[in-house]
């Protein structure tokens, strides 16, 4: 057969898959078998609906989308009627209208007519549609159904009497979030949507059901009764809390952020955002905002004006430079800062003559810095993750660390992908992994090494020279062999290195071995760095590379070296060192020994916080709501955002503060008039958004696998709602189940060995310092480990990893 006939056959096939039909006299085409409502939406023809949502399955239970179809004996629901060639659909005909009005009358029978006191008023689908389809009075005289509400947690308010049983929230939990927490109990008139028992909704994506609910049954608890939708100004923005860069819409009133909702972007976050993206705004209105520059004179904090504060900063830093040299100054930025801020921070430090600038507060091992790609990326698009057929997570709690990537992986699993994990904690994934190794970082490394060897056997590829030596004594176990089979056979394969792969003392070994696994199996490798880390790398906010990966004259100290070998002066950008740095203990010691610390921060440190004692000057910095910026996500997508409200009090966008600091130091090239000038100058070029670029430039094996083996190893992790200075102050999020509190977790065998019980008060001692906390028995923690979260004052004296000992108090 010739290729031409093949082509014709293929075209015919496509033609056959597309059908042409009419809606309200307008000719429309759509894929055969797709639903009518989708075609109507695409053609801009409005059909009313409640239960239909394009990213959920079709339930067809509200019946609001009934339309007339020629030759059909009765009206058909547009959401559940497949399109067919030559079909004639009428959405505005007498039959359609009467059907829709009938449905509306039934819906309004039990729905309370209390719009003036309902929080959904003004943005309610039922209210809007009732204008078009509702009657002006009700024929129904009997009693209305009443549902007793249950408290489902700090984020979502319920008023289930208003529920119209569309089941969008139920389907979201079942299909998208992967934990079915809501359901329809009872039958007929007595059906209730809810949790049945009093229980909190614990999904990290729960807030999406607020957006989904077409009526006022599920509303935002923190936002409740605080504003009406028509009073709100809507501004598009980007959430900087993780490396996805979810698109959000910020609603403001009177220069105050009132709430955040999801903004659709199919490439990034579809129609969903995580609860962290949604509720972090509460911090913006937190009572502890720093609104005036503050300086410490004679050990007393005093408010002052910008001029004095900046002069004070200049004097303090200049004194350190004079006495100890420029290399005794270092700058640390929080990973969620804007790319422009990273750029100006590194420019300032480098102009002063030092390369001590970094943002990687969650990393301990930097020995392969030179080998890293242009920025730690995903190596593929977020959407393509869904096509993966095998997925290996290394040191990643993807559901909590990057909830929206977790969703994509879940979809891949639903499409038949195998999930495998090499993790330090037996995390709860919504679909359990097929294969897993759970153990200390040392055991994880050994498993990874075994996987490399098993893959070499499986694929017949030869190990590089240094790997042969390193892996000589490694024998892959059954799990590793099974993983090797799946990774090499089920393509496309994806490997993601998560937070734990970065936050241990041998992370370069994790990266090198994972790269070998990727090379052997053909998998795409993704480095799941924190927040806007990609932006920081490209802006040059790393000690070994300048902007756009240019060479630097002078390589500075890394984030961990800067605190391990304390400097005399620090500039901290949006960072609380003892809470953000995974090695909090060292950060604390470094702060305590420093002579002059400049903090650019949106918040006053609370009582007992380190900055209060150690810092010398606090410059009030705008949050991401209050400044323009650029976020670069893990796939290399550059997204800019504008300010949504003006900065509170005297606080200023960090880029302006850094610019003026440059002026005070009389440095050249700090004369920007707008953030656009900064953007133009930094001119970020993104090259490695493809698989081939997002790899280690060379795979170098260590001499020895891992390090010392400890009889009790401390596992440190920043829990989902402790990850940055803003999230930590979002009060509703702190009340959720995902804030584990400063408690030490061990499994019951380990607890017995340590002679401790649930709720016991213990002292956890490490080289860097100790912590007094309570015990929580948790079987997901492996033997010989004690899991203690970072990000809490109570645990901020402990080191990131290594030997820990426990004594009962």
């Amino acid at each position: 057969m010739s290729t031409t006939t093949d082509k014709v056959a293929a075209e015919d096939q496509i033609k056959n898959d597309i059908v042409s039909f009419e809606i309200d006299g307008q000719t429309v085409t759509a894929e055969k078998g797709s639903m009518l409502i989708r075609a109507a939406d695409a053609a801009g023809i409005v059909i009313p609906r409640f239960c239909y949502h394009k990213n959920l399955t079709v339930a067809a239970n509200c019946r609001m989308c009934l339309v007339e179809v020629e030759k059909a004996p009765k009206p058909l629901p547009a959401c559940a009627t497949p399109v067919a060639e030559g079909m004639k659909v009428f959405t505005q005909s007498e039959v359609a209208k009467r059907a829709q009005k009938g449905v509306m009358e039934f819906l309004l029978i039990n729905h309370p007519l209390d719009c003036p006191i309902c929080d959904q008023g003004g943005e309610c689908t039922l209210q809007d549609l009732a204008v078009g389809y509702g009657g002006d009075n009700s024929r129904y005289q009997e009693a209305k159904r009443v549902v007793v509400d249950k408290d489902i947690g700090p984020l979502i308010a319920t008023e289930m009497t208003r529920c119209i049983h569309c089941t969008r929230c139920v389907r979201f939990g079942q299909e998208v979030a992967g934990i079915m927490e809501m359901g329809a109990t009872g039958r007929g008139e007595h059906t209730k949507i809810g949790t049945y028992i009093e229980k909190s909704i614990d999904s990290e994506l729960s807030g999406n059901i607020i957006d989904l609910c077409p009526v006022g049954a599920l509303t935002s608890k923190p936002f409740r009764y605080s504003a009406r939708p028509w009073e709100l100004i809507k501004c598009d923005s980007i959430s900087p809390h993780d490396n996805v860069g979810a698109n959000i819409t910020v609603h403001t009133r009177d220069n105050k952020v009132m709430r955040v909702i999801a903004r659709e972007n199919n490439e990034v976050n579809e129609t969903w955002i995580s609860d962290r993206d949604r509720f972090s705004y509460e911090a913006n209105n937190h009572g502890d905002r720093l609104t005036m520059p503050m300086i410490k004179v004679d050990n007393e904090w005093q408010e002052t004006d910008w001029n004095s504060a900046l002069e004070f900063t200049l004097r303090g830093l200049s004194k350190v430079i004079e006495q100890h040299g420029i290399d005794n100054i270092g700058a640390l930025a929080a990973p969620h800062c804007a790319t422009e801020e990273f750029y100006l921070l590194q420019k300032l430090l480098r102009a002063l003559g030092t390369g001590n600038v970094d943002h990687r507060t969650g990393q301990l091992d930097f020995s392969d810095d030179e080998l890293m790609p242009d920025f730690p990326g995903l190596g593929q698009s977020l959407q393509s993750l869904e096509e993966s057929k095998s997925i290996l997570l290394i040191g990643s709690n993807i559901r909590k660390d990057q909830p929206l990537i977790g969703l994509r992986l879940r979809k891949a699993q639903q499409n038949g992908a195998s999930l495998m994990v090499i993790n330090p904690v037996n995390y709860d994934f919504t679909r359990q992994p097929e294969l897993q190794t759970i153990g200390t970082p040392q055991q994880m490394l050994e498993s990874l090494a075994g996987l490399v060897k098993a893959l070499a056997d499986e694929t017949g590829k030869s190990l590089p020279g240094d790997a042969i030596k390193l892996l000589a004594k490694v024998t892959p176990g059954d799990t590793e062999q099974a993983m090797a089979k799946i990774l090499s056979k089920q393509s496309p394969a994806t490997i993601l290195l998560g937070n734990y792969a970065f936050s241990n003392s041998h992370s370069s070994q994790f990266r090198a071995l994972a790269q070998l696994v990727a090379n052997f199996s053909g998998a795409k490798i993704g480095f799941m760095a924190q927040a806007n880390s990609a932006g920081a790398w490209l802006a040059g906010c790393v000690p070994h590379r300048g902007t756009n990966n240019s060479a630097t004259d002078k390589t500075g100290s890394t984030a961990h070296d800067m605190i391990k070998e304390p400097l005399k002066a620090y500039i901290m950008l949006g960072l609380e060192p003892a809470l953000d740095c995974i090695d909090a203990g060292r950060a604390r010691l470094a702060m305590e020994s420093a002579e002059f610390i400049t903090m650019l921060t949106p918040f006053k440190p609370g009582a007992g916080e380190l900055a209060l004692d150690c810092a010398s000057v606090m410059l009030p910095m705008a949050t991401f709501f209050e400044t323009a910026g650029t976020h670069i996500n893990c796939e290399g997508k550059m997204q800019t955002y504008r300010s949504t409200v003006t900065p509170q009090g005297e606080s200023r966008p960090a880029w302006k503060i850094l610019r003026v600091l440059g002026n005070y130091f009389e440095l050249e090239g700090f004369d920007y008039n707008s953030i656009d000038d900064v953007r133009k100058e930094m001119n970020i070029v993104i090259s490695n958004n493809s698989q081939s670029d997002n790899v280690l430039k060379q795979v170098k094996m260590p001499k020895k696998l891992g390090g010392k083996i400890f009889n009790l190893y401390r596992l440190a992790e920043l829990p989902i709602y402790r990850t940055d200075i803003i999230v930590r102050r979002a009060s509703a999020l702190q009340l959720t189940h995902d804030n584990p509190g400063a408690r030490a977790r061990v499994n019951s065998d380990q607890a017995a060995k340590l002679n401790i019980k649930q709720d016991d008060l213990i002292r956890v001692r490490m080289l860097e310092g100790d912590a007094q906390i309570n015990v929580e028995i948790d079987e997901s923690i492996p033997d010989a480990c004690i899991w203690v979260p970072a990000g809490y004052n109570e645990t901020s004296a402990l080191g990131a990893c290594g030997q820990a000992s426990v004594s009962k108090l």
Partner: protein, 170 residues
Amino acid sequence: MINTQAALNLKIEMLTLATREEIDKWIAKYPADQKQSAVMAALRIVQDQNGGWLNTQLMDAIAAYLEMPPIAVYEVATFYSMYELEPIGRHKISICTNISCMLCGSEEVVAHFEKRLGIKLGETTADGKITLREVECLGACVGAPMMQIGNEYIENLTPETIDQLLAGLE
């Protein structure tokens, strides 16, 4: 981070070994990855184990045993009227009042029961012995008026047969 497996095992222990064995027979009837198909049978078996009614702990145990979300078990249990979610009498008498039974005198049957027991439909006697229920057609119109007690159908009810029945109940 919840103690997933340990917590689930603890819940499952609410079910007696005999109950679990009985449920296993039903699980075996369905494909291995569709254990939840046995939920209706499991609810019935556990209800029998627990003296005729189900509480949340037991439903959670079933959810854990069949690896399904607890809410999905609640959905089924609240949908069907044969699952009791509150304590009931030792004997549940379900009287059909649907069309055939009604035509054949179910109203008198109900009245007689109510008079004899001193309770209304839906109530339980003070000694916790008998609960009266009104149910829809049980598919035994040929013997109308009829009722169900336990797993048994009793047909062609008359005041006399009702008295006999009540006298025989412990």
